[in-house]
C-alpha cells in the first residue's frame, strides 16, 4: 500500500472520495484549483471557508451536479467522470433543503428508493424506520410547507440517508436554523454519522460548527485548500495567517530573525526580542522575516514580570470586556496591539483595570510561525 499511496493516480482502497488535481473554471473565474484530497471511509469531513471560496463547487463536483474542468474525482476508488448525478452512490442535503413541495414527507423520503425501483411495501418499511430515527414520524403525511425549519432539515437528512449512500454530502446543513437549534442538531448529526457509519462531507462557513463536528477539516480560501487536519491541529498550529484568523482569533506579530538556533530562533518585534520554536516541516527556517501568531487565551497576563527571562513584556491595559467566566483584554505592548483572554479562576476581583500597567508572557510553545 506504501507503493500505492506514493503514486497519485492509483486509487486508495480506504478512500471514500479522492480528488486528484481538480480544477473548475467558469466563464470568467476559476472557482477551485489544484485540489488534492483524500477523504477516508466513515469519516466526518468538513470543508470550511468563507463564502465564495469554492467549497460548494467542490461538493457539487462530488455530487455530479458540476463537472471538473480538469482533474479526477474518484468515489470508492472509481473514476466518476462519466457517471451522471443520478447514478452516483452519493446523496446530498441541500442548503435550502430542496424538498419536493407537492409531496408529503413520506413521499419525499421514499423518492430515492422509488427511483431505484424498490417495491411499495419495502419502501414503506424503510421510510418508517428512518423517520423514527430522525424523530419525524408524526409528520409523515404533511407537506413540507407545513413544517418548521428544523423539521424540514430532518426530512432533508432522512431523504438522503435512507438511500444508504457511500458518501453523504451536506451543504451548509444547519445554516438556515437559529443558534439553539443549530447546537442541538450538531450533536445529532454527529451521533447519526457514528451510528450509520456513512462518510459525511459537510460544507460550512461556521468555524465552530466545523470544529465541534468534524474528524478532519479542510480550510479553504480563494479556491484552494489552505490547511488540512484535525480540529485541534488546525486550531493549535495554524500554518497560514488566513487559517489563524479564520479559526478563532489570533494575534499577529511581525518580526525579523536575529539569531538562529537548533529548532528555533530569536526574533526582533515591535514589543522586543522574542524566542520562537519552529515546526519540523516549516520553511520558516530559511526566511528572515517572520509572521508570528498567538491565540488570545495563550497570552498570560500578570502583575509582576515573573521568573521567565524571555518573551515577557510590559503592557498597558487599554480596554477590557468582562464576560463572566473569562475577561477579554485589549493590551498595548509598546505600540503592538495584543488581545488576551483570561479565565477568571481567582475568587473575587480579577485585578486588572483599564489603564493599568501589567506584564504579558508569550510562551514560545504558543507562538506559531505562520506562512503568508
Amino acid at each position: 500500500m506504501a507503493h500505492a499511496s506514493a503514486s497519485p493516480s492509483s486509487p486508495d482502497a480506504a478512500a471514500a472520495v479522492e480528488l486528484q488535481n481538480v480544477e473548475k473554471r467558469f466563464a470568467d473565474f476559476t472557482a477551485v484549483t489544484g485540489i488534492n484530497l483524500t477523504i477516508k471511509k466513515g469519516e466526518f469531513f468538513s470543508l470550511l471557508g468563507p463564502s465564495g471560496c469554492g467549497k460548494t463547487t467542490l461538493l457539487r463536483m462530488i455530487a455530479g451536479l458540476e463537472f471538473p474542468s480538469s482533474g479526477k474525482v474518484l468515489i470508492a476508488g472509481q473514476d466518476v467522470h462519466d457517471v451522471p448525478a443520478c447514478e452516483r452512490p452519493v446523496n446530498t442535503v441541500f442548503q435550502s433543503y430542496a424538498l419536493f413541495p407537492h409531496m408529503t414527507v413520506r413521499d419525499n423520503i421514499g423518492f430515492g428508493l422509488r427511483m431505484k425501483g424498490m417495491g411499495r411495501d419495502e419502501i414503506r418499511v424503510r421510510v418508517d424506520k428512518i423517520m423514527e430515527l430522525v424523530q419525524i414520524g408524526q409528520f409523515a403525511e404533511r407537506k413540507p410547507h407545513m413544517l418548521s425549519g428544523g423539521q424540514r432539515q430532518r426530512v432533508a437528512l432522512a431523504r438522503a440517508v435512507v438511500n444508504e449512500p457511500t458518501v453523504l454530502l451536506l451543504d451548509e446543513p444547519l445554516g438556515a436554523l437559529d443558534l439553539k437549534l443549530r447546537k442541538e442538531l450538531q450533536f445529532e448529526l454527529v451521533a447519526l454519522q457514528r451510528r450509520l457509519g456513512i462518510t459525511f462531507i459537510c460544507v460550512t462557513h461556521d468555524q465552530e460548527e466545523a470544529l465541534t463536528m468534524s474528524d478532519r477539516i479542510a480550510v479553504m480560501n480563494r479556491g484552494h485548500i489552505e490547511q488540512l487536519g484535525a480540529a485541534e491541529d488546525l486550531y493549535e498550529s495554524p500554518r497560514t495567517r488566513f487559517v489563524g484568523g479564520f479559526l478563532g482569533t489570533c494575534n499577529i506579530i511581525e518580526g525579523s530573525v536575529t539569531n538562529r538556533g537548533p529548532g528555533g530562533a530569536s526574533v526582533t518585534t515591535a514589543a522586543g526580542p522574542m524566542r520562537v520554536e519552529f515546526r519540523k516541516d516549516s520553511d520558516a527556517t530559511r526566511r528572515d522575516k517572520l509572521t508570528l501568531g498567538i491565540r488570545p487565551e495563550k497570552v498570560r497576563l500578570r502583575e509582576e514580570p515573573g521568573n521567565e527571562q524571555e518573551n515577557c513584556f510590559p503592557v498597558t491595559v487599554k480596554e477590557l470586556q468582562y464576560i463572566g467566566s473569562e475577561t477579554h483584554y485589549l493590551l498595548d505592548c509598546s505600540g503592538l496591539q495584543l488581545s488576551a483572554e483570561v479565565m477568571n479562576s481567582k475568587v473575587g476581583s480579577q485585578g486588572f483595570e483599564a489603564g493599568q500597567k501589567a506584564f504579558v508572557y508569550l510562551p514560545p510553545a504558543g507562538l506559531v510561525v505562520l506562512d503568508d
Binding site: 455530479g64 419536493f100 423518492f111 427511483m115
Partner: protein, 307 residues
Amino acid sequence: MEWRKERECIFGEQLSPLDQTLRSLRTSGPAIVWTTLFLFVPLLGIVFISFMSRGSYGELQLPLTFDNYSRFFGFGSFGFDPLYPYILLRSVLLAVGSTLLCMICALPLAFFIAGLSPRYKNLALTLVMIPFWTNLLIRTYAWQMLLSAEGLVSKIAQFVGLVGEGMPLYPSLGAVYLGTLCDYLPYLVLPLYASVEKIDWTIVEAAMDLGAGRIQSFRHAVLPQIIPGLAAGIVLVFVPATGQFIVPDLLGGAKTSMLGNSIAQQFGPSRDWPFGSAIAMSGILALMFALIIYNRILAKRGGEGLL
C-alpha cells in the same frame, strides 16, 4: 374602547367592518358593475331567449318551450338527426387538438425564452406578443395567401414534395390547425413562461441527486412546478378555441360547421335567435362540465385546483 375590538388592522389602519366593505366596493366596484352590465345581464338574456320561440318573421315569441334544446339534441321536425351534437363534438375535438398542438410548441418555447439572457428575453417575449397587434381576420387572410397554390409556403411544400405540383395547402384541416396555433400560442406561452421562470432548479437537482434520470426529473420535479402556468394556459386556449369560427371558415373552406359558425348562422341568416341561444347555452354548459372535470384532475394531481 370596547368597539375597537371589532376593528381589524389592515396595512396598519384600524378599520370597522363597514369601512372595509366601503373600501372594497370603491376598488372592485367598477369591475363588478362592468361584469354585471356586459356579461351577466346579456348572459341571462340568452338563457331566457333560449326558452322562447321564433315567430314566422324571426321575431321572439312568448310560449316558453324546451323545443330549442330538444332540436339541438337532434329531435327536430324531420325525425332524429344528431347534427348539432356532432358539431359540438367536432368543435371540442378541434379545440383539444389545437390545445395539444399549442402545448407541444409552447413548452420548448417557454423553456427557451426563460433560458435567454435578460436582454434577449424581453425581445423574445415581444416577438411572441406581436401577433396580438394585428387583427385576427387580417392574419387569417394572410395565411390564405401564404397557403394558396401560388403562396410562399405552398411553393416550399411543393418543392420539398409534401404536396403535388401546383397544389395549394388550403383549404385543409392542417391549415385550420396552423391558423389556430398562431392565434392561441401566446395565450399558452405567456402564463407557462411565468411558471418556468420561477422554477426552483435546486429541486430538480435534488431529484437527480436521488437517482431520477432526465425524464423522471422532468415528471417529478419540473412538471409539478409549472402546472399552475400550464393549467391556466390550457384553459385560456381551450375555451376560446371551442367557439372559434373565423379560422375554420376561412382556412377550412367553410365545408364543415363548427359551434361558432352554427351560432352565427342562427343569429344572422336564419334569424332564429331562440335556437342560436340554445346552441350557445349548450356550448357553455359543455365547456363548464369539461372545466369541472379538468379541475378535479388537477386537484388530484397538484393539490390545489384552478377554480
